[in-house]
Amino acid sequence: MSADAYLNLQKISAGYGRTQVLQDIDLAIGKGEFVALLGASGCGKTTLLRTIAGFALPSAGSVRVGDRDVTRLPPDKRGMAMVFQSYALWPHMTAARNIGYGLRLKGWRREAIATRVAEMEALLGLGGLSGRKPSELSGGQRQRVALGRALAVDPDILLLDEPLSNLDARIRLTVRHEIRALQQRLGITTIHVTHDREEAMVMADRIVILDKGRIAQLGTPEAIYTRPASAFVAAFMGAENVVHLDGACSGHRVDIAPGPLNKAASLTLDRPAPPSGKLEARFRSERLQLRRLAAPSSDTGTAIELIGRVEAVVYPGGEWRHTVRIGESSVLVDGPEALPPDTDVIVRVPTTSLFLFAASAALPIGSPSAADDRSPVRDRLTA
């Protein structure tokens, strides 16, 4: 892709036996950039990382670092360091020996290794633990040792394979920022594999969303969050409320025909509209307006207004979360005040909160999820 990219993947395909895991992956990563590979389990993100590391050979395509083609090089000749999901610390070596192993391989002198290991331990807050075996360390400490082992060799490229997934939720939040700060300070080109959307958002410069072995979208966290390129990406980035509408589109303009479940609307999008016909409208539960059906509306036409009935209301903290039934499906809507169940309501989705896509035949009509963490798209992927 771009000429000044440091790590270049071109047309990478890979698979085990007959199952194709990756197809035609093109990716260019700049020097010092932090890129997150985000996707559900089974989307091929770990396979892609292992292909970059040299643990698996791609069936087609090439991996280039700088102006070097490393596609066929063994892992030890690539100048990359990986932090494994399981940490893969050597149980028969102490923390210090684990961290110093890469330096020993480089033929460093004993004192130089000791200095460097002490440096890494200070950097990662592992003081006083250097004599312990991995089995005597906590999960968070092991994770730091694994990171220290990878950073000690001063790698050209750092590969992170879900290194936070085995940590407590609370530790995970702080470690995210620590790793990001460290990466920026050291300026190491980093590829981070994760299935955690928020983790990818707060850590990465750019996010690559993988779907069934292909890149679904590539962009900054903000771009992917606010301008998802497909219904899949929108769903993955949290826009899991779905309704299906009929629309006539031209240019940036969409005219929604009135129906039993929605009022007529005429929208102007900030990007080209999908082709006319059946539309899939996706939106998050936040930044919506919820009002009683009887209440007067201020202005019409610049937002989609859906007609439904409150089924349930819970308070997860912050705002009240309503489950609103709209025809066959139900959506989640956050609001500042609770409306009791069985209230007839209007859900107003402003253009800025709305993602419109041409309804694909593959997506089941009218079956959005009712919960945040279980999405039909994700379930189908992991099944």
Binding site: A53, F84, A88
Partner: protein, 283 residues
């Protein structure tokens, strides 16, 4: 009937049912203990018996004069012991030299017919020993390996390979592949990663397989007899000739000598062979 006797009768019933319950158990346990320890005790008595013949239940005289004869320069025992132990060590070295690469390949590579390959190592023990070893002896005779230590070691290696390869494959499977990849990733060549990471982690399993092979070699009789005798005399061969000559004292003392390394190593095996390695044997 008075009250006390009424309360006594059920207690007596209880005692009786207890007795019926425990008597067969005690008998079975006692019988089992006798079957296991009887011959051992008999052997131990024979090692210190000077004169013991029918119809006497116990020896008439006790003493250590046969021990002197066994360890006398002409007694052959020390010589056979040295031969046995050196053959066992060579066998271990040969088996491990084959089992480490074979076990690693079986654990790591996606080999077709993996199960069949594992089973193939069982073949030397799947057929009746005698015809196999008679034919090996014939073959070895032609290539002048009969009556040499090398010939006996080769026979023991084929015999011990099934333990060595199976346990080695299990030991290597128990080492997480990512641990190796982590070393490769940091710049270790394949061989370096194997030596620094895989081998030390598989060492307890390999140690256990070495001990199994050692014990098998120490006890092996049929192959040693056809391939080694009379030029190479191992302890089991000495035991056989002493036993068939009616010299139970010499046979028992030799057997006791054989028992010592066996028991010592069994204790070591129990320490080394972790459950997670055992669970992968033959998988």
């Amino acid at each position: 009937m008075s009250a006390p006797s009424a309360s006594l009768a059920p207690r007596r019933d209880l005692e009786l049912s207890n007795l019926i319950w425990w008597l067969p158990r005690a008998a079975i346990l006692g019988g089992l203990a006798f079957v296991i320890f009887g011959p051992l005790v008999n052997m131990l008595i024979w090692t210190v018996a000077e004169r013991w013949y029918f119809p006497h239940t116990l020896p008439l005289d006790y003493g250590f004069s046969y021990w002197g004869r066994v360890f006398a320069p002409r007694g052959n025992a020390v010589q056979s012991l040295v031969a046995s132990i050196s053959i066992a060590f060579f066998t271990v070295a040969g088996s491990l030299a084959l089992a480490i690469p074979a076990g690693y390949a079986l654990a790591r590579l996606k080999l077709p017919l993996r199960g069949l390959i594992l089973l193939a190592f069982l073949l030397p023990q799947a057929f009746p020993n005698l015809p196999v070893y008679v034919n090996i002896a014939r073959l070895f005779y032609e290539i002048r390996l009969n009556g040499t230590v090398l010939g006996v070691v080769l026979v023991h290696v084929t015999h011990g390979l099934v333990y060595a390869v199976w346990i080695a494959a299990a030991a290597f499977s128990a080492v997480d592949r990512d641990l190796e990849l982590a070393a490769r990733n940091l710049g270790a060549s394949g061989l370096k990663a194997f030596v620094d990471v895989t081998l030390p982690l598989a060492a307890p399993g390999l140690m256990a397989s070495a001990i199994f092979v050692f014990l098998e070699s120490l006890d092996e009789f049929t192959g040693s007899y056809f391939v080694g005798a009379p030029d190479v005399t191992t302890l089991p061969l000495l035991l056989y000739s002493a036993g068939s000559g009616g010299n139970y004292q010499i046979a028992s003392i030799t057997a006791l000598l054989l028992l010592v390394p066996s028991i010592a190593f069994m204790l070591v095996v129990e320490k080394f062979l972790r459950a997670d390695v055992l669970a992968k044997v033959g998988q």
